[in-house]
């Protein structure tokens, strides 16, 4: 059951007993406002338990619309029949302000910022301290990933979206070197987007834009991009299907969805073979404990098949210490060492013994990189598929 107005759609999802608001509720028409109230009251009358009002895709609501919501909350509070949960997003300021204050006015109303703690490692990944690690990884991967992107169909003039773009380095490199019409980079981390915007201004890149957004509820119209990327990100979410649904939605039929993922079994080296395997095995286990899947690279083909994508291509992006800049490779491993043993280690409160073992494992990998006869390789899986027309 759906109602709609000039710029909004309100629909009910019976699976979650959730009312989804999309677009703009900025009407002054009493007829429209009454229709919204009647719709909510009717749903309230026909259900039990908890009802959610989800505003994550509602860009604006005027005070007249807010009054309707307030009147409904007042009605629901008086009837004491159902609990009402308001769901907003951190990236839409009016929701943070006005929905939070509505919650404080009535008992039995819960306000949840859906994207505040929507994956376990969010505090770590979205912190400014994570940016140097992202940058070093890009330094290492970009020379090898650029031809893979071309092979997977990224062409000059395309409309490209980089969802979970982090600090924007890859989006900016794509904009400058592969000349798409536009690259829109979206990430949920404010420090990362600030960084991306600073670089975009500094390098005067006219065909790139960055904005904060929630990858599970993108404020982007359907089917507007020719090429959608989501790099090294699905692995950090406990419910990647919510992001995949959005990536599919914004991709035009005939366009390509490009995903990359880690696979810690693909990090190898010699000498110190056993230490290297051991440390990434441990790191993978710790990753699982904070909701990350550091083996999701091998699953990407199946993911694209499951989405019924066509013409699926899979490649590995291989960075090794022979073909890459060794100091940069070392920097990446040093960043992982710190991230794993210090940041994740602290978050999981690992023992001193476990910490020492992790540090020793990464140190062994670093010595392999520097060893005159040493060889090591980090492979990332890249997979893409075409959305059927």
């Amino acid at each position: 059951m759906t109602i709609s107005g000039e710029r909004y759609t309100i629909s009910f999802d019976p699976l979650d007993q959730q009312v989804n608001f999309e677009g703009y509720v900025r009407t002054t028409s009493l007829e429209d406002l009454s229709a919204i109230m009647d719709y909510l009251v009717d749903l309230h009358g026909r259900h039990e338990g908890t009802m959610s009002l989800n505003f994550r895709k509602l860009r604006y609501m005027n005070s007249s619309g807010l009054k309707v919501i307030a009147s409904f909350l007042s009605f629901a509070s008086r009837s004491s029949k159902m609990r009402i949960k308001l769901i907003g997003s951190k990236v839409i300021p009016w929701e943070e302000k006005s929905l939070a204050s509505l919650r404080s006015l009535w008992d039995g109303v819960e306000f949840m910022v859906a994207d505040e703690r929507f994956y376990e490692s969010q505090g770590i990944i979205e912190d400014e301290a994570f940016i140097p690690l992202l940058r070093n990884q890009t330094r290492l991967l970009w020379p090898r990933e650029k031809p893979v992107l071309v092979e997977h169909g990224l062409r000059e003039g395309m409309r490209v979206a980089d969802i979970c773009c982090g600090c924007g380095d890859v989006a900016l490199l794509i904009a400058r070197e592969l000349k798409p019409g536009i690259v829109i980079g979206i990430d949920h981390s404010m420090p990362a987007i600030d960084h991306a915007n600073r670089l975009q201004r500094e390098f005067k890149v006219g065909n790139a834009e960055f904005r904060m957004g929630d990858a599970t509820a993108l404020m982007v119209e359907d089917e507007v991009f020719d090429f959608v990327l989501c790099r090294l990100s699905l692995q950090i979410f406990s419910r990647p299907e919510q992001i995949l649904r959005e990536l599919h939605r914004i991709l035009r039929p005939g366009g390509r969805l490009y995903l990359t993922g880690e696979d810690y079994d693909l990090i190898v080296g010699c000498p110190n073979e056993a230490e290297i395997r051991n440390v990434y095995g441990k790191a993978g286990q710790y990753g699982r404990k904070i909701g990350m899947d550091l083996y999701n690279g091998r699953k990407l083909y199946g993911t694209l098949m499951g989405m019924k994508m066509k013409n699926i291509k899979v490649d590995t992006i291989d960075a090794d210490n022979l073909g890459s800049n060794r100091p940069v490779f070392s920097e990446v491993i040093a960043s992982w060492r710190h991230f794993s043993a210090e940041t994740i280690g602290k978050s999981l409160a690992i023992s001193e013994g476990e910490r020492t073992e992790l540090l020793a494992g990464y140190d062994a990998h670093l010595s392999t990189i520097r060893h005159p006869h040493g060889y090591t390789k980090w492979s990332v899986v890249a997979a893409s598929g075409e959305k059927p027309k």
């Binding site: 900025r26 002054t28 604006y60």
Partner: protein, 173 residues
């Protein structure tokens, strides 16, 4: 009629002159003007998207409020300027209705009395369907949710000017 100018040295200045009757004839113009000015002004802020959403939300309510108290043939002047860490929305009508102006004075007095939580809640749950009370709710919302500060002036010819300001921290958290 819309004209825009940007004048140095005031950072982020945009000025519009608009006809009240255009909004009465089609309310969708509130959204259009609020979004246009918000997008224009947002480029002056580091967090552009956030600034755009906040500015549009504030301006929409101010426009609706000011048009609501205006005579149909009056002209509105609108200006935005950043000063001392605040964004000022300056909006004036060349002619207010007697009733509209009375409600305006009453609202500002209510806001000045304090207990903003109580006032806002009463307005939110009020059964009154009058246009005046609906418009006043928008201003109370700005004061409550956006910590907006207001000042107003009126001249003998019935022109009413209002200044609303919000801290830059509303846009740059």
């Amino acid at each position: 009629m819309i004209s825009t100018t940007e004048t140095a040295p005031s950072r982020g200045r945009i000025t519009l002159r608009l006809q009240a009757r255009d909004f009465s004839r089609d309310w969708r113009r509130y959204n259009l003007v609020a979004n246009y000015v918000a997008e224009y002004t947002s480029y002056f802020f580091e967090h552009k998207d956030r600034a755009e959403n906040v500015i549009s939300s504030v301006l929409y309510e101010l426009l609706e409020y000011m048009v609501g108290m205006s005579l149909d043939d009056s002209e509105l002047a609108l200006g935005l300027i950043t000063r001392d860490g605040r964004l000022y929305f300056e909006i004036a009508t060349s002619g207010a209705t007697r009733e509209g102006y009375g409600q305006h004075q009453e609202l500002l007095a209510d806001l000045a009395r304090g207990d903003l939580d109580g006032l806002y809640r009463r307005m939110l749950v009020s059964e009154s369907e009058g246009q005046g009370s609906r418009r006043s709710l928008g201003i109370a919302m700005l004061a409550h949710d956006y910590r907006a500060e207001f000042s107003t002036s009126v001249d003998r010819a019935g022109a009413v000017a209002m200044s609303a300001s919000i801290g830059h921290d509303e846009m740059n958290p």
